[in-house]
């Protein structure tokens, strides 16, 4: 129930930011606002009917722990961009790519998606394939040693998800 309420509020906020028509005294804008609330309610109802809403993990905990992780990720993106830019502009093209396997112990799909995205955004690594049966990612890296940064990231994602990082 909490999830549906949260989805509804987020959708309404999204509508408000994108439309920007928030003057209740104006007839046309009032019409648009009512339309917005109705469509948000409809979308929430439909996603409840379809069972689309994500049912694992603690939403509040994820939301509270997400901002520090995002800040850390932003810094990692800057580092990664500098790394790639250096390789692009260096005259002798300093790349020695290889494929490595990165195991994971995350359980929920959201955490796996966050981890896969983070791998792609951070220095020298791109997620190629997710092997859910053997619990591992196939990661393409630009230079040997790129997988050293993956384990700390895995633990951070596990912390965001509230799963035990000790496994």
């Amino acid at each position: 129930m909490l999830r549906h309420l949260l989805l509804f509020v987020v959708l309404c906020g999204f509508w408000a930011v994108l439309s920007g028509q928030l003057d209740w005294s104006d007839t046309h804008q009032r019409y648009l606002m009512i339309c917005g609330v109705v469509s948000c309610a409809l979308a929430t109802l439909l996603s409840w009917r379809v069972g689309f809403l994500y049912e694992e993990g603690n939403v509040i905990r994820i939301m509270l722990r997400q901002p520090p992780y995002l800040l850390w990720l932003l810094w990692q993106i800057v580092v990664s961009n500098w790394d790639v830019a250096r390789r692009v502009w260096s005259p002798k093209l300093d790349v020695d790519p290889s494929l490595v396997k990165a195991p994971y112990t995350l359980k929920s799909e959201l955490a796996i998606a966050i981890y896969a995205n983070s791998i792609t955004l951070t220095p020298g690594t791109v997620t190629v394939q997710i092997d859910a049966e053997r619990k591992q990612f196939l990661v393409h890296q630009l230079s040997p040693g790129g997988e050293a940064g993956l384990k700390p990231m895995h633990d951070k994602v596990a912390h965001v998800e509230g799963e035990g990082a000790e496994t």
Binding site: V17, I77, V84, D96, P97, Q129, H140
Partner: protein, 109 residues
């Protein structure tokens, strides 16, 4: 204060251009499909983020248009999610199709 913000905007725009151009050059210079996706998937994201940061400062500085600022923030969040997902989808498609990654010492493709 005004001059400081102007300089900051110019620096952000310059860095954003630099990373976007780097992405283009990287796509041209790197030896194969997988390595080319590294600059395409990463540098573009940071480039767009820097552009958005510059525009954010610009629109808060002059007319305090919080709505446009909110849209810019949403754009950055969307890029942050969409760019790696697209990158991963393309890479996985190539991998499933059987494209072999380039190894050091081979001729570039």
């Amino acid at each position: 204060m005004q001059a400081f913000l102007d300089v900051l905007v110019w620096i952000l725009l310059g860095l954003g251009s630099f990373f976007s151009i780097t992405a283009a050059v990287g796509v041209l210079r790197f030896p194969d499909f997988y390595t080319r996706l590294h600059p395409a998937g990463k540098n573009d994201t940071l480039g767009v983020m820097l552009f958005c940061a510059a525009m954010l400062i610009e629109c808060l500085k002059y007319d305090y248009s919080y709505l446009i600022a909110g849209r810019l923030v949403l754009m950055v969040l969307f890029m942050l999610m969409a760019s790696p997902i697209a990158c991963h989808a393309i890479t996985q498609a190539a991998y499933v199709d059987g494209l072999r990654p380039w190894k050091k010492g081979e001729p570039r493709r």
